[in-house]
Structure formats: structure tokens, C-alpha cells
Symmetry: C2
């Protein structure tokens, strides 16, 4: 096996694990998963990704002496539902997954969250491995152990903390990802720079095209993002503090996803995040917290990468300021009716801002909607 | 507040909690739950129990300054389903349960398992309090943090380990429990003696009537059972070993529940356990592990308490030996196709017996079915 870019997630209590990053890792998956000491490894994937990569992964698993199986769900956010969760659990049980076996999540963040939650709760917890195939999943959702599904009352409201035993990010799988999903994942890449690493945001401005085209910049960017996220997760696994910074752009973004009915034809998660990042910086600037030129630089760069950066860019619209505020108030970052936002003092200088006045937010959103 | 019989569950990492036992505890629930530092406490109950006790509990909660709410499900094992789980989660969300709030499970083991699993997974985990109202729940299911629901593929296959923050066993609530459910719970009481405490089984033979009638023996028995279970749970929370002993009688019992379609008109959990206990001892005797007279004493005592002790006692029958074996093989205690049983060398001397030959079990069951 080739040497791979590796990021360690140094959690305690035997829960430390590695993130491996590189082209062609899927073909090494069998050996690497077998070394965890399992007998069977059952894959959960969506039909898009399964058609492209499930056979290769199964071949690798079986060659390493693992019994394999496959449970497939429909692609898209709608699969993060109670009903599909039940189907995945029953599918894994039908494949006779026992307590020592391993669930492999092969796909984007939807599959990772869903399969991870099924693994967390199947027989009260079986091990799982993330094999992320979207850029968003490789740089964000596959790392850190947040798993879950959506409730009709809100996104990611049901779930568990359940860390994977291994993350295998085969960056060659991104070659088949649609341009749109690539861009959406790129919003999360840029997010890491904006949260706490201004130098990485500079680097992104210079090298983003290489990430899209699959040059060495891609692996490098995935590794930098994973290292950044792993650090946060180790310091604050349960999001009692710092981890909330990873939600930069997400309070706005989740509200937009809710208001567009989680319909990925209209808006995918990363697009919501891109708009949310631009809004978070403009809102910070409006509150006098952040230089206006930083807000401009953020929006410009995201737009250059082909991402939406304003409410007007939401296809079919997103309702008025009150609808947006209502959708935000349902979000889980609400405490005692006051809104908690992640704001920024500049690029790479985000912070948790609790107790933001709803009237302040409403006025901002009204102006954003008027600006078009 | 009165002094109460108390059993401590001394888990680490801030997860230690108390089990309080006594008549009238529901009226103290508000103060005791408020002292955990919550703002809101939302009750999950079934319609039988809610009609009897929800108002009293809510009054107590509100008097202690807690915002309260109530989510009600249909009574019976069928509520431990994916669908009812989703309803409970959404019901709790509709009551605006946030991360610092508390879910209170008011009811028998069904409500405890279901509400506990909802609490384990709502917003990736909120705290919960058990207020068990069936004998079975007071002596067994409310303690130890196993929560979960059933899959069409088997009982308790989906769930989480999630310890309650407090258990309030108001033994006066058992006054309204049906005779049948009282007997069913009593099977679990006797189980503790049979597992590892021969003196307690002696005591049960002498005092069982006082447990049923609500004398001081009832509180005493609940405390003894909880102390026994708490010890096992602290030593082996995740059932890597010793905790499996608590499944004495359950491999047979679960198979019978499955074969009667989880239809509580035909068989309730404790009745399955009673039959299972009698079978486990007779099977142990047949294998030459246990004196035949101990097996006889077990069956006699359970029968005296009004419990079924043979396969013939299953209303509507339970299929042939192969059907039973199939139902057992689906149970989660199966490893590599070999059956693991909890057997006994005598009353109070149970042990884990892995690798029991299926043919041996089939022959035993065939004879049991012939014996009628
Ligand atoms: N758990 C976390 O910490 C966390 C963090 C961020 C986001 N998320 C979640 O992640 C989800 C979004 O993930 P996503 O953007 O990966 O969406 P996704 O899983 O829906 O994938 C996007 C689309 O790309 C397709 N696809 C994936 N990999 C492909 C490949 N290699 N080739 C071709 N097509 C491919 C999928 O089939 C899908 O249609 C959201 O539900 C979000 O809540 C979770
Ligand atoms: N989590 C664990 O460790 C564990 C252990 C043992 C059993 N269990 C589970 O517990 C469940 C069985 O629990 P159960 O026997 O309590 O069943 P249950 O919860 O269905 O209660 C039995 C019946 O009694 C009624 N009832 C309860 N309290 C009452 C009261 N005070 N007055 C009047 N009626 C009352 C209920 O409405 C129900 O109809 C099973 O699902 C089993 O798997 C879990
Ligand atoms: Zn995101
Ligand atoms: Zn039981």
C-alpha cells in the first residue's frame, strides 16, 4: 500500500482514528478495514455513488477476506429521514451485521450522516468507516462523529455522536462529482479559512482551480481542512464551545435549506452555506465588527468559484425576513429565544456571538432582500 | 421530602445517578427533577398510565417551576416501533425540548425504552429521568441505560446506551397495575434470585405475597433488585461480559415473544421470561449442569405466583422446535451461528454458556413440546 496523507483524530478512550487522503484509496479499503479486525463489512451508499464505486469497494473488501454487502438508498437530502433510517437499519440487519462487524458509509454527507446514525444505533452501536465521495464529505461531514437525520421540525435534530474508526477519502472519486456539488463542497473548504486560518483563505484564492481540476492542491486542501476540523473536534467533541465555530454560515444556510423544502433541485447544503458565509460577513460588517472589505472579499471569492452569495440567488425565493427569522429560530443554536450566531472580526477571525437581537437580524435581512 | 430507599448507580464520568424507591414519590418528582438544573421537563407516557398519573406528575413539575409537557403513545409493545419513535421525537421537538431540558419516561418498560431512546437521539442526546410505573420497569428496565425499539427483524435491535439522570420508582403506582402485569414483573424479580442470590430467592418464596399486596416487602424487593442490577451495570455497562447474565430466561423468552407476534394479548414480556426461566433451568438440568430439584423448585414457585412455565402455556401455541430455534438464532446473543445461553448450576448460580449446540437445543425443545 502507498503512503498516504494522514490526519490523526486523537480522541481518548480508544476512539482515536486516522483520516487517509489520496487518489485510489478505495482499492486499499479492504486491507485497511480488515486490519480493524472485522469479519463482515456492509456498505451503505446512494444509488448514484453505488453505481460508480460499490463494485470496486466490494471487490477490495472481499479480496481482504471480508464478507461484504450493500444497502442502497435514493440520492439526496430527503433520504436523511426517519423512513430511510428504518430501511437502512433493517437492510443492515438483513445482511446479518453483528456487533463485531463494520458499516461502511460510501457516499456524500447524506450517506455518511445516515449510515453513521444507523451504525450508532444498530444493536446499540456497531463500528463504522467513512468512505466519503463528495468534497463536502471529505473535508467536513465524514470527520468528527456527528451523525443523524432530519425531522419534519428541522434539520439534523435526530442523531448521535458516533466516531468512525477510519476515514478513507479517495480524492479520485471527486472526478465524477458534478460541478455543482464540487462548488457546494468548496464552500466548506473556504469556510475553514474564514473561521480561523486567514493564510489558508489566501491560499484558496490562489489555488482553488487546482482543487476543482484534481491537481495535488486537491489532496492538500482536503488534508488541511481535515486537520483543522480534527483539532476542533478533539478539543470540543460535544460542541460545548469552540466546535460551534464550524457552524459559520450555517444558521443562515440551514434556514434557507428549510425554506426551500430541502429540495436539492433548488438549493444544496453547500450553496446554503455559501450564501450563509457571505451573509455572516456582511452582518458582521453591519454590526461594525468586521471591515466591510473583508465581507466583500469573501463574497467575491465565493462568486468567482461559482457559488451564490445573496438571498436573491435562491431559486424560487426564500420568503420574507420574518419567514427567515422563524426558520432560524427553529434551529438548534437557539437558546432561551435569543439567537446565537457565528460572526467574524475579519477573515480567519470568527467567534461565537450569543444573544443577538432578533430585531437587528430582521432589519439586516430586510435590507438584504431589498438589495436583491 | 421524606427519606427514601436509595440505590446508587456509581458510574464514572459524571454519569452516576440515584434510584429512589417508595410510595408517593411522584409528588416529589418536581423538586427532585428541578434540582438537576433543568428549565423544562416533558413527559412521555402511554395512554393508560397518562390517564392515571400524568396530571399529578405535571402538577409536581410545574409547582417546582419547571415548564412541563406531555407526549402520549398507545400502550403495548407495538409502540416500540420506528413509527412511534419518530412520533415521540417530533412530539418532544414540538414541545420545544432543548439541549438542557429533560425527558421524563412515565410508564412501564415500553415507555422507558422508547422515551429513553428518543432522549438519547434527540438533538444528539438530552437528559432523561425514569419514572417507572410497572413492577418490571421498577426492578429492571428503568435501570442501566439500555434504551431502544424493535425492528421487524427482532426485538431491541435498534437503540442506544443512555443512562438516566435519576430513577423515581413510586411503588404506590403499582396499586393500579393489573394482576397479570404484576405477575409478569414478578418473573424479573425472581430472576435476580436465580441469577446470583439464592438467599433472595428463598426470601421471595416466603414473601412474594407481600410484594403483590403492596406491603413493605414490595419496596424492599424493588430495592434489592435495583441494587443487584446496579452492581452488574457498574461492572459491565456495555454487556461485554457479566451483564449478559441478566438475560437469564430471555433467549427463550424473546423467541416466544417473536413467535407470538409481540401480541401482548397472547404473551407479555414477563410471561415469556417466566417460561424462559423454567426452560433455562430444565435445559441446564438436562445437560447435567444443575440438580433436577432446583429446576422443579423454580417452576413451582413461578407457577404458584400465577406465571406460565411451559411452552404448552403459550396461548395459540408457539410453533415447532425449528420455528423456536430460528427465532432464537435471530436473537442478538448469537455469535458465529453458535448459540449462547445463560444456564445455571443451581439456584443463584447462573453462568454464560457460549457455543451451545443447536441440535442439543432442538432435542430439548422437541421433548418440551411433547411433554405439553
Ligand atoms: N456530520 C457532519 O458533521 C456534517 C457536516 C456537514 C454537512 N453534513 C451533511 O452533509 C449533507 C450534504 O452532503 P453532500 O453535499 O455530500 O450531499 P450528498 O451526500 O447528497 O451528495 C451530493 C450528490 O453528489 C452525489 N455524489 C456523491 N459523491 C459522488 C461522486 N464521487 N461521484 C458522483 N456523484 C457523487 C450524490 O449521489 C448526491 O447526489 C447534508 O445532509 C449535511 O447536513 C454533515
Ligand atoms: N431496557 C431494559 O434494560 C429492559 C429490561 C427489561 C425489559 N425491557 C423492556 O420492557 C418492556 C416491558 O415492560 P413492561 O412489562 O413494563 O410493559 P409495558 O410498558 O407495556 O407496561 C405493561 C402494561 O401496564 C400498563 N401500566 C404500566 N404501569 C401501570 C400502572 N401503574 N397502572 C396501570 N397500568 C400500568 C401499561 O400501560 C401497559 O399496558 C419490554 O419492551 C422489554 O423489552 C427493557
Ligand atoms: Zn456544512
Ligand atoms: Zn426482561
Amino acid at each position: 500500500m502507498t503512503d498516504r496523507l494522514t490526519v490523526d483524530v486523537s480522541l481518548d478512550q480508544g476512539r482515536a482514528y486516522s483520516i487517509l487522503i489520496g487518489r485510489g484509496l478505495l482499492d486499499e479499503a479492504g486491507v485497511r478495514i480488515a486490519s480493524l479486525g472485522a469479519r463482515a463489512a456492509v456498505i451503505v451508499s446512494d444509488s448514484n455513488v453505488a453505481a460508480l464505486y460499490a463494485d470496486r469497494l466490494r471487490t477490495s473488501l472481499e479480496a481482504a477476506g471480508l464478507r461484504s454487502g450493500l444497502v442502497t438508498v435514493a440520492p439526496g437530502e430527503a433520504s436523511k429521514s426517519y423512513a430511510t433510517y428504518a430501511e437502512v437499519c433493517d437492510g443492515l440487519l438483513a445482511h446479518k451485521v453483528e456487533r463485531g462487524d463494520i458499516v461502511v458509509a460510501l457516499g456524500g454527507g447524506v450517506v455518511g450522516d445516515l449510515a453513521g446514525f444507523a451504525a450508532a444505533t444498530l444493536r446499540r452501536g456497531v463500528r463504522f468507516v467513512q468512505a466519503p465521495t463528495s468534497l463536502l464529505a471529505q473535508v467536513d461531514s465524514s470527520v468528527g462523529g456527528k451523525t443523524g437525520i432530519n425531522s419534519p421540525l428541522g434539520k439534523n435534530l435526530i442523531g448521535a455522536f458516533h466516531q468512525p474508526r477510519l476515514v478513507l477519502a479517495d480524492t479520485a472519486t471527486l472526478d465524477t462529482l458534478s460541478e455543482r456539488e464540487m462548488r457546494a463542497g468548496y464552500a466548506e473548504v473556504a469556510k475553514y479559512g474564514l473561521i480561523g486560518d486567514a493564510a489558508f483563505f489566501d491560499w484558496c484564492e490562489a489555488h482553488w482551480a487546482g482543487i476543482f481540476s484534481g491537481g495535488p492542491e486537491r489532496d492538500e486542501a482536503v488534508a488541511i481542512c481535515c486537520r483543522s476540523k480534527a483539532g476542533v473536534v478533539v478539543r470540543d467533541e460535544r460542541e460545548d464551545g469552540e466546535r460551534a465555530l464550524l457552524n459559520l454560515g450555517h444558521t443562515f444556510g440551514h434556514a434557507l435549506e428549510r425554506l426551500t423544502g430541502y429540495d436539492s433541485d433548488r438549493l444544496v447544503h453547500g450553496e446554503g452555506v455559501a450564501i450563509g458565509l457571505a451573509l455572516a460577513f456582511r452582518f458582521s460588517a453591519r454590526l461594525g465588527l468586521c471591515p466591510g472589505q473583508d465581507a466583500g472579499r469573501v463574497a467575491n471569492h465565493l462568486a468567482l468559484a461559482g457559488l451564490p452569495t445573496s438571498l436573491a440567488a435562491v431559486p424560487g425565493g426564500c420568503g420574507d425576513a420574518d419567514a427567515l427569522l422563524d426558520a432560524m429560530a427553529q434551529d438548534k443554536k437557539v437558546r432561551d429565544g435569543a439567537l446565537t450566531f457565528i460572526l467574524a472580526r475579519g477573515i480567519g477571525q470568527s467567534f461565537i456571538a450569543p444573544g443577538i437581537d432578533a430585531a437587528e437580524v430582521r432589519a439586516f435581512l430586510t435590507d438584504e432582500l431589498l438589495a436583491g
